[in-house]
Subunit: 338 residues, 2 copies
């Protein structure tokens, strides 16, 4: 272990990121100073939001700079430390980036508590995706028993947790997913009440069939036509939670907005967005509740863990956009150094 | 006074309503039964929402049926009564329709209290438009001192009141209006801090100039391109109040939605719709506050009162969509019977 392999952004992608957009570099392992520690990165999170970070436009985080190490959530172990609260041997989760070793000052870093779950769970159900599901549904969806909750990208890392928390809280939960296999997974494995196959169903008929009294909560991860169709089927006082828009992340030109947005007026609805980082003071409470639900078997937290090295990142990233993966997508690089 | 002239819907308009879409009828003055009263209609309200009621699609109110008297808010005087709470001589406001005489059972009817304002004010600042401004701004806009409040259709009946309430509550208020004359009116007469001329200004530059720290509250009456541009300029935690979409009401095909809707996510914003009828139990309190602000000279409540008869309704309605009128548009038919 004398070099740090990093994946840096070489050029801003147009549409889907290509290999030529990335720079693979071999660098010296960085040195730490007072108040810092060195993390050996073991697992890297792949998230749809990554695509947005590559564009040079304002968002909730600044764009990844040209030449910078690609931003990514990761888990790892502290192997050197000059920070009293982060000792050697501690498991940690943070935005360590797509690289083998990272220096941190502890900002935004949380401890991986092995009593609550495995390291990869800290990138999924106990990490940003699970916390996004938790705060988005509770704080913006405001679920009540008997509500009809519709979740898009239902087989995905966020959607699968949203629907299962909805079930725990007495909602009737309808998932939206693409293809027979994913749809079967949503009802059979995740326990949703019903599912809409957006690749094969007529959306209008499917919403009428599955949501005869309208949608009380629509948790949107996809945007586009599915969001628009959902807006056309809102119940009175519906809550629309805008969590993401994966259908639009690779669009090269602005796609039309939802023409049904006036349903927000007609149905006295609320559409709101949120950023999970705003809830950082409540993470620990949420993680304990989520871990308990997992332990009780009330939440299934699927993971797709792909073994490889950091240089596999450009290929693995694309799996997010093909609609092939189920649950949380993780690149496990811990074997690549052994 | 032996006949009741009525304006009934003859055909559903495509685009702007035409004369051939209406039926002018001479009918007998209706008789009242127990629990009913007869109103002599004096003034009829013209509202952008009327256009939506003409289409055969679900909304917050059912469509006006073919052959039905056109729905309209109105004020008048009770001239016959078999209802103990609504005696002869009382001034009343209600959805009496485009006709000279109306029978009512009192549902949705409120007293015109001459201590608070004139009858026409009960169609404007003390009526549905003023109440819409009041509840939309307070309950959904949640104004705080120092907030930047942007109001579209700022010279209109609702927008003019929204902005003035915003000023009273310490907001920096920017209006959007069309043309130099209306823009001068918005700053000089209504006292807004600044104004954007959507017919002549570059919207992007105008928002950057007038809202350097972003929009905290956007109160939208117009939809379309202006809504989209505003969504591109939201401050963190912005509130977008969807009150109407007059730019789209005569559209014959669905217009594109706001492509910038993802700003709701990025800026942690909320977009919500509301219907003023949901606040009926709080009308009286709001009317007292609004009347006090008018009396103190803190709210200017412009009215465009057009004298005529009910048969002028089809022509006067079109004035809503040409952008020519300032403030509340009222058809005064009280002179047509003398």
């Amino acid at each position: 272990m004398t070099t740090n392999t990093t994946v840096r952004l070489g050029a801003r992608p147009i549409g889907e990121p290509r290999h030529s957009d990335w720079i693979i570099a071999q660098e010296a392992i960085p040195e730490i100073g007072p108040g810092q520690f060195l993390v050996r990165v073991d697992m890297i999170s792949l998230d749809p939001a990554m695509r947005g970070w590559l564009d040079d436009r304002p968002s909730y985080l600044p764009p990844v700079g040209i030449g910078d190490v690609m931003r990514a959530g990761a888990v790892g172990e502290i192997i050197a430390s000059e920070h009293p609260q982060f000792p050697v041997g501690m498991g940690v989760q943070g935005a360590f980036g797509v690289q083998e070793f990272a220096v941190s000052d502890g900002q935004g870093v949380t401890r991986v508590d092995p009593r609550l779950g495995t390291p990869s769970m800290y990138l999924g159900v106990l990490g940003i995706t699970g916390l996004t599901a938790y705060f988005g549904l509770f704080d913006h969806g405001k679920p009540k028993a008997g509500d009809t909750l519709v979740v898009s990208a239902a087989a995905g890392a966020v959607g699968s947790v949203v629907g299962q928390i909805g079930k725990i809280n007495g909602c009737r939960v309808i998932g939206i997913a693409g293809g027979a296999e994913k749809c079967a997974y949503v009802t059979n494995e995740l326990g949703f009440d019903d599912v809409i196959d957006y690749k094969n169903d007529n959306l209008r008929e499917a919403f009428a069939r599955t949501c005869p009294t309208g949608i009380d909560i629509y948790f949107d991860n996809v945007g586009g036509k599915i969001l628009n169709a959902a807006l056309g089927n809102l119940a009175l006082n519906a809550r629309v939670v805008i969590c993401g828009a994966i259908s639009q992340y690779n669009a090269e030109t602005p796609t039309p907005g939802p023409s049904n947005y006036l349903s927000v007026l007609i149905r006295r609805a609320t559409m709101s967005g949120f950023i999970v980082f705003d809830y950082v003071n409540q993470y620990r409470t949420a993680q304990k509740r989520l871990a308990a639900w997992v332990a009780e078997g009330r939440i299934t937290a699927p993971e797709t863990i792909i073994g490889g090295s950091v240089t596999d990142f450009p290929d693995v990233l694309l799996k997010l956009f093909t609609g092939d993966n189920v649950g949380k997508l993780v690149l496990d690089i811990s074997g690549s150094r052994r």
